[in-house]
Symmetry: C3
């Protein structure tokens, strides 16, 4: 009886991967070539009058080692109204994350993901806790039925430490077009320094082709990173060809650091069903003389070295 | 097929909270204003002849950060007979816990919970591992059908360390009245010191009103804490008004410590459905000159300072 | 809807246990007397043409303390064909593990398990990470319909550390007979030392009796352990009597260590249903003069001391 309230869902995505940084090659088992492996539970209760309550618990899984156990992908409770929108509390994706995910040909997963470069500064994700998700958040989502306009805003408590976040995203989707703007500010040191993100992305689908583009800038005191991303999906039968190019430029006026990384990636996804795919991706990161961008998972990289990755895997969702 | 053996259940309870200890205020996201956020699995197999086997796995969730993964709320297997009662093995609530939970207007959750003061000594829960639950336990529960009498007993192994527990609870429920007595002894240091708990609680429901009361004493060597709690629930339409008062008195004859804390709490729960509620609670702890009782989650408290808490949240169960 | 893709399954197995090593006795709550307590999720998607995709997530639970949260028993995604066999990626059991599990009267659980002695060297499991399972594995399983022949092979990446595994198992099952051979090699130090396992086991069922036997040898540089195991199951009504004898011989030519341990175990399983049993097991390990084999969980053992274990518990699966 009670069980009907709950949907179990997840992804197991495991592949084999080879990362070459400079001259050092490492063979790995990958766990998120197409999407991050995960397990989740969710459900919605209709309360009448267009009002509903819902919950969502979702945690990452590392099928290479059997890791898992938390719900740090998302752990939220919501109260939603058809007309007034959704109030959502808990750990959730930040509004500014979604443009990175939605408007890149490889999303944020695998060797070809633009996020390998654009997260935070310097290819190092986690500069701010809120690059992808935020703890202690209170979010608001616009309702459907606004003529294609969608949007969300989030505030998150720092709880006496860093991580106080304020951000929003506003977009429009219709007639094959999808564009959105994101803005945020995070208190990123105990001294109160602000980590600021601005991004603007879009996609346009016409026939078998979908074009994607993103501008993503992040900034904190003397450091700044500007990223430009373009990509495309092309449907061929039950498959999708994916290509992406990223240009990331990192500067720090305090120490004169100034370098660029360029990522080129191409991949193919073969859909065995709606739930199951085989895929392969090839990706290359070229650094400028002092650059240190890389595809994560491999050996340490020396300044200016290139980073190369190739992977093939099985994606299965449930 | 096999799935029908298992019920998935849980709670997501997230709110916003402000704790003021002395002059220091902290804003927080709370995760257990009404009940602790949790995920669980349970099931029962009928074995014939009134005999059944069952299991219960339940773990706390921290939706503010996505924490979770263990089953430390309860992890038990049971063999039960309609006539002879239930044998239960694993990690479980101690018998002496239940009076704290059942006979307080705010249960053991949120800023208004009497447990903020009565657990262990000195407002510090965890003085003994067995204040709430015990590892390595073997429990026995009386069967139904004893004319309103209920009861349970537990022994738990220390496994060569501390935590050896022996305790029991005996009660009577009928005609709106519910009273129960609890007693326990825990080996609480490697030297063999005993942590002893005695409590006696009750509730009486008449019309829309329910009165609750508890005496809870804990003792170890030279330390002792005595607590008196009174409270009430009052149903108004689809809501419940809750009020509670706690008087906690801590003494240590070894160093002359002797202080008192008083908690006053009032709250309102608005039920949107059986599964979903909105709630708010206001709570104040007044310490005597050297007291250090507090509502947990805020800044450190100075001796004699007051502790104030207010919270509002969404409770959703599944 | 989506939920029908997923089967929830698990085991809660909790008992009371007494381990006596030398003269030191310890009382414990056990969590795997018959099978390891666990929770899992699995599902299979038919892709047409005899092809299927499936996933399996399974993690151990410690109901004595409520431990849990990972999926380190097994976390795999598979693509399988009725004719060509199964490709399986993720963390999984090694091929060489299965002979230890299948051809011992007590499997690998409880005080009577042969694995208490045969794992790794010197009764110490974990000498190599791959004694039971392997991270980062790619496995292949022969299809059904090969006239009783079954088999599997696995390679696992070391990912720049130890744990690179290559192994296989080949067997035949039919007419009450089941025999299988296992072989593996694991890179077990950063210097490249090889941990090698060879085992050959079998069982033969005739009427109410099943006989089981195993030879299991492991070797690394100067260390070697040879194990012989024999055992039997005898069905009596809804119960099974189990007996086992293990002879383990450990040698290290580098330091002259040379000792033997013998395990004798007898137990009874009473099946209340297909899903639920009560059981008890008695086990004794006798060491030669410098031996240090033991039943795990008790106090430390002195060279040459005996180790004794007795346990009784409830097993419930779902």
């Amino acid at each position: 009886a009670q069980q009907s309230n709950v949907t179990i869902f997840g992804v197991l995505d495991v592949g084999v991967q080879r990362i070459k940084n400079g001259s050092k090659t490492l063979n790995l088992e990958s766990i998120d070539g197409l999407q991050t492996s995960r397990l989740g539970f969710r459900g919605t209760e209709q309360l009448g009058g267009g009002l509903s309550a819902s919950f969502h618990l979702e945690g990452a899984i590392g099928p290479d080692t059997g890791a898992g156990g938390d719900w740090r992908r998302r752990a939220t409770v919501s109260l939603a109204s058809k007309d007034a929108g959704e109030l959502r509390l808990g750990r959730d994706y930040t509004p500014t994350f979604w443009n990175i995910s939605r408007f890149n040909a490889f999303g944020t997963n695998g060797v070809g993901a633009a996020s390998n470069l654009v997260y935070g500064f310097d290819g190092a994700s986690g500069t701010a806790k809120t690059v992808i998700r935020s703890d202690n958040s209170v979010g608001y989502f616009l309702p459907d039925g606004l003529g294609g306009v969608y949007g969300q805003a989030m505030v998150a408590a720092g709880e006496g430490s860093t991580g106080r976040y304020v951000g929003a995203r506003l977009g429009y989707a219709g007639n094959g077009l999808d564009v959105a703007l994101g803005l945020s500010e995070t208190t990123n040191t105990l001294a109160g320094d602000k980590f600021k993100v601005f991004n603007l992305g879009g996609s346009y689908a016409v026939g078998a082709l979908k074009l994607l583009g993103l501008v993503h800038n992040s900034k904190q005191t003397t450091r700044e990173q500007k990223n430009y991303v373009i990509g495309a999906h092309y449907n061929v039968g039950s498959g999708i060809i994916r290509v992406s190019h990223v240009n990331a430029h990192s500067r720090n006026t305090a120490n004169g650091e100034d370098y660029t990384g360029k990522l080129f990636a191409v991949g193919y996804v073969h859909q065995l069903s709606k739930r199951t795919s085989l895929y392969t991706t090839l990706s290359k990161v070229n650094n400028s003389k002092t650059g240190r961008f890389l595809i994560p998972g491999g050996s340490a990289i020396a300044l200016g070295d290139d980073s190369n990755g190739i992977e093939a895997g099985i994606y299965h969702s449930f």
